[in-house]
Each structure stands twice: as C-alpha cells, then as structure tokens.
Symmetry: C2
Subunit: 391 residues, 2 copies
Amino acid sequence: MLTQSLIAERTARMRVNAIREILKVVSQPGMISLAGGIPAPESFPMNIIRELTRQVIDTYGSKAFQYGPTEGFGPLRHHLAEHLKKKKDIQAAPENVFISSGSQGALDAAGKALISKGDKIGMASPTYLGAIQAFDPYEPEYVALATDEKGLIPESLKTVLNKNPLKFVYLVPTFQNPTGRTLPMERREHIAAILTQYDVLLIEDDPYSDLRYDGSPLKPLKALAPDHVLYIGTLSKVFSPGLRVGFYVPPALLKEWLVVVKQGVDLHTSTFNQALASEYLSGNHLEQHLPRIIARYKPKKNAMLEALANHFPTDFIWSRPEGGMFVWVEGPPGYDMEALYHRGIKKNVAFVPGKYFFTDSKSGMETMRLNFTMADEATIHTAIHVLSKLL
Amino acid sequence: MLTQSLIAERTARMRVNAIREILKVVSQPGMISLAGGIPAPESFPMNIIRELTRQVIDTYGSKAFQYGPTEGFGPLRHHLAEHLKKKKDIQAAPENVFISSGSQGALDAAGKALISKGDKIGMASPTYLGAIQAFDPYEPEYVALATDEKGLIPESLKTVLNKNPLKFVYLVPTFQNPTGRTLPMERREHIAAILTQYDVLLIEDDPYSDLRYDGSPLKPLKALAPDHVLYIGTLSKVFSPGLRVGFYVPPALLKEWLVVVKQGVDLHTSTFNQALASEYLSGNHLEQHLPRIIARYKPKKNAMLEALANHFPTDFIWSRPEGGMFVWVEGPPGYDMEALYHRGIKKNVAFVPGKYFFTDSKSGMETMRLNFTMADEATIHTAIHVLSKLL
C-alpha cells in the first residue's frame, strides 16, 4: 500500500477551500444562499454566446481548436490591450497582455515564479481566499497589513516595509472580496508612491471594478505605478466564469518567467474560449451587455443594505459598497458567526463566516460575508430577516 | 526598478521549452515541419464540434458557463468512466475519474502534490519534455531508467529501486513521445509486479494509445496494478487539443490532494469544454470519428518508414511504431543532430534534435524525433530525402 509519506511537505499546509465545501452544503434545494461569490446565471449573455460560438467556428475554423501559444491568443491580447487603455487607463501593448486560465491561473503563476520558502508577502487583512490558496503551496509567510473601512491603510504598508523586505504585496483595491471595500484615490496615489520609493511589487487583483453601481471609476494602481504592479483581470464576472479566461499585465521583469511557469502548468489556456472572449470584446458585446448585468445587481445590493438597516442590531456595522458582489458585516467583539452559520443553515439561510478570510486562525470570529448577486430582492429581505432573528 | 532577486529560487532551474521555441521558427511559410507534436487540424471533427456547441447550449444552458466543481463536470466523469472500462480495461467509478486542464494539468498537480525538493523520480530516458517541465519547478532529482527498442527495461527499474527510494516513476508506455516505442505485455506485467513488490507509484501518461494503426491494443499498467498507478489521459489527440481537457484516475491515497492542488491552480477546467467533451463521448462521436483519424495518419506513418528505408544511411536505425505520432532515429555515435537541424531549416525542413528529451545535457546528440502527423505523404518523402542528402 502507498502511504501518506508520498505526499510532499508543501502539500501538508494546503487547506481545502472552506468556501467550496460550504457551497456544496448550500446547494441543497430550498437553501437561500448568501454564501457564494458567483455571478447570477441570468447575467450570462446566453444569446450572444450562442452567436459567438458560430462566429468563432466560421472565422477561425480548426485554428480555434488547435494548440496555441502559452502567451495567449493573438486577437484576444489585441482587444484586451484596447479595452484596458479605454476603460482602465492602463497603457499596454498587446504583447504585454498575457492570458491565464482564470485570474486564479495568474495568481498561481505569480506565486510559483516569485515565492521562495519563507518569503514574506504583505496581505491586506481580511483577504481573498483564492489568493491564499494560490500562494500557500510555495510556503511564504504572510504579513497582515492593517485595513479600515477604506481598505488598506498606506501607513501600515510603510511601517511593515520599514521592518520587513516583502516579496510582494497582494491587494484587491476595488470592491474587495470579502469586504466590498474600495481604496479611495488619495490612498491609491499614496500606495503607488510607496511602491516606487521602496521598489516593491504589488499584485493588483481586479475582478470586480467593472461591476460599479454608484460613484465614479477610479484608476487602478497599475495606471499609477506601472513598473511596480502586476495587474490581474478576468472575464469571469462580465462574460462567463465557466470559460476560465483571465489576463494579466506584468512589469517587464516578470514577463518571461510567468510564461515559462504557465507552460509547465497547462501549456496554454483553451484556444476556443479565448477566441470566444476575443469576439465578445471586438463585437462590442461587453459594452452592450455590462449595463444589463449592472441593472440586475444594483437593486440587489440596495435591497441588502436596506434589509440590514431594517433588521440588524444597532451594534452591528457593515460596508456600503458601490459595486462588486459582497457586503461585509461586523458584530461586536465576542460574537461567533460560525455558530450563527450552523444555526442559519438549519433555517435554510447560508452565508460565509468571515474568519475564513484571515491568514491567521484567530481573527474575524465576529464577521460575516454576505453575497447579494445570487438571490432576488425579496429573498434577500427574507434571508436577512431570518438571520437577524437568530442574532 | 525591480530586480532579478524577485524571482524565486525554483524558477531559475526552469527551462524554456526548447520545442515550443523551435515551433515558432518553423511556423515560417514554406517550412516543412516534422518538428511538431501536434495533431493535423484536418483531424478535428469540425462538423461534429459545430453541432456539439449547439447541443451543449440547448441541454445545459447557463450551467455550462458557470463555475463548476474542481473534481470535474459530472456527466463527463461518468462517460469517461464508461469509456475507460470499455476501451482500456480500467475499472473506475465516475467519482474516481478527475478532470484536468489537459494532461499537462494532471502532471503539474502530481508534481506539486508529491515532490519535495531533492526527491528522486525515475524517468525512462529519453522522455516527454512536458513532464520534465511540469516536475522541474518542484526541484526533484531525476534518475534515468535504461530503455531499449521495447521501452523501459524492467530490470533497470529494479536495480534503481534497490539503490534509491523513488518518489515515483514516470512513463509513457504506449507509442512514447519521443521514441514511438511501446512496452510489450510481458514487460508491463513485470513492471506491475515490481510496483507492487516495492510499493512504488508509477505515473502512466497515455495520450497516444487510441492512435493505433497496426497490431493489437495492450492493457495499460493501470489495469495491472491499479493501486500503484496514477493514470493520465487526454482528449487532445482524439478530439481537440485547443479545448484543454485531460483526465486522470489516481490511487485512492492521492484523490483528495490532487483536487486541493488544482483548486489553487485554476479552480476547475472550463465547464463548457468539459460539456463538449462529454457530448462527444456520449453521442458516440469518438467511436465514429477515431477511425477517420487513424485512416489519415496510418499512410503517413508508412510513408515516413518507407522514405527512411529508401534514403537514410544504412548505419542509422529507427523505431517502427504501431501508432502515435513519432519516429525516433539514431545515427552512429558522433553524429550531431543539432547541427543537422540548423542545416535542415535552411533547406526548409525542420525536426527536433533528440537531445532535448534527455534529463542530462550530454545524451542524445546523435538522435532525432520525426513527427509524421502534420505533413502529407509526398511531403514526408521530400523532407526525408532532403535530410538524407544533408547527412
């Protein structure tokens, strides 16, 4: 018999993604889920997709089904470069835009190319669980960076950098998962200045910025400190997550290495899916479809904020995001949201306890992440009411 | 400025895949390429694919474009389990068949889950370059296992195991890349017995066995030592490589770990592409289309063997594969096939020097890998004639 000694040392520290386990529980019929972080299936442009599959087969034929370059499908890189210039103030030539298998693929490639065992990584706390999962196998140490309701506190980054050389900083600056928080412009400028001053790399994970329901778009950090930011984007929230098409714009130093790493991991991302994404962008479908997604999500967000105001105890606080998919709730110290989770699913209402989003195991007991993109408005009101009665 | 010190220690030992670099050179118009390892685009079932995209959208709708389980798309796992039982003598329940992003994804997951720095891996020599690329980042040491014209010599494995504990053995037993060699049944049985006796894991990489032009199918090692073999397959050679759908059947011990590893790498393989693959299998399309691929490749293989016999010097030897995509040629000691490569491309004929398929940098100077799936028969004759004149 093969024995456990076969498993690599690094593997022992990998955690099963607790949220994916929760999602299995909540897929039971009748369950109201505020737990997921997934787009509403009604937001997928099914008619456009049907047309695009025809178009890709007609235009590219067998080329769309053949092996392709690790760097990505040429036409998609071209259209993404245009999109990033027009919508994000990111100036990148097509040959500096690379395709990954979802943004997860770019996070894995960055971890693999950069992290030696014991390297220190600065993480806004709480942070996106998928990033922890991508970096953990390469055995870094995490340094928690302090945050408030406006996201990462620049002075906290500076204090850490004065004490520790960081391999890089990881950040979701806009509509963060799990908090929904957005870093304001003056903080972006301050952080960009710190990156340049300390010559430190920042990974800017930006899956949500297109989903803005209120307020005005903010420049990404990549636009402010292009030589110090690895920018990662995805089509999962504005096209289809099941196609697994993400992209990244790296500083020059990293270009070659991230491609070498990806070659060994999956050779390249699906050619067919890249061609679909390319046609989605070039045919102006994103521009036309995005307002429909926003029109669908905005009332849901408002419903959740209204329900929280109506029902939740006055000693609770929560984020008021201008976009994205999540509201973050903090109870007074001493509250145990994991216990609430277990009582919630007995009443058919699920959410994610906030503790899973911290790199240390002690923080966040009194916090919860609520998703508002899956349920409809009336159901959101019901769910929040049920949870409030359990509090 | 960011500096090279940012790059992880492991990254320094990664090699750019020399073959992918060669493929860029040979994509010039007018070049006859015997260099690739890619299926002929005419072998893709384009009309079936067109119909399958419609069918998947009608049958699964938005489900085919949503996030999915890391383990894989349920219907595909089900149909693969049936296929493996019927065609490969592999008995696996659907829940023991897992989906990967190409077979490369399974090789990466295995490397990541199993290899601690310095672990010894037994490799038949020469071996598949993509496997070296998948394993290298996890910093193993390779132990070369001796081969002859029938593939891995079982006694060589035994000798190595008596001296070294191996983390695992990696093998392509059928129509190997790069040699085209196939391990005969008695060697399979012998090796299966050694695996069980020494309690050692073998990774059986099996991308080519469906492409059999002569002779009778042989049982995979997985059928002979199921608890000691991680079997890896792919739909790249019999459906479409650009869809990036592979699969694997692990021993029980590895199931959980390989899934945890994949979560961090890409969350899951494209749902849409898995659904296409599922319909390809369930609609009996593979069964109907495979004979067409074989009818296309068999005369090409015969043309290459005939041209070699007609033109190549009598002190050269080469493999006579019953399937797959490659013929392996060995010149007498002292020949430099890399020099021949450079002279070849000046005459518009490309191939891959064999030295790239060895884990040490000194072996294989006098060897070459010839692919016969891309060019037509007349072109193969011309190319071999050109090369023979350069020898």
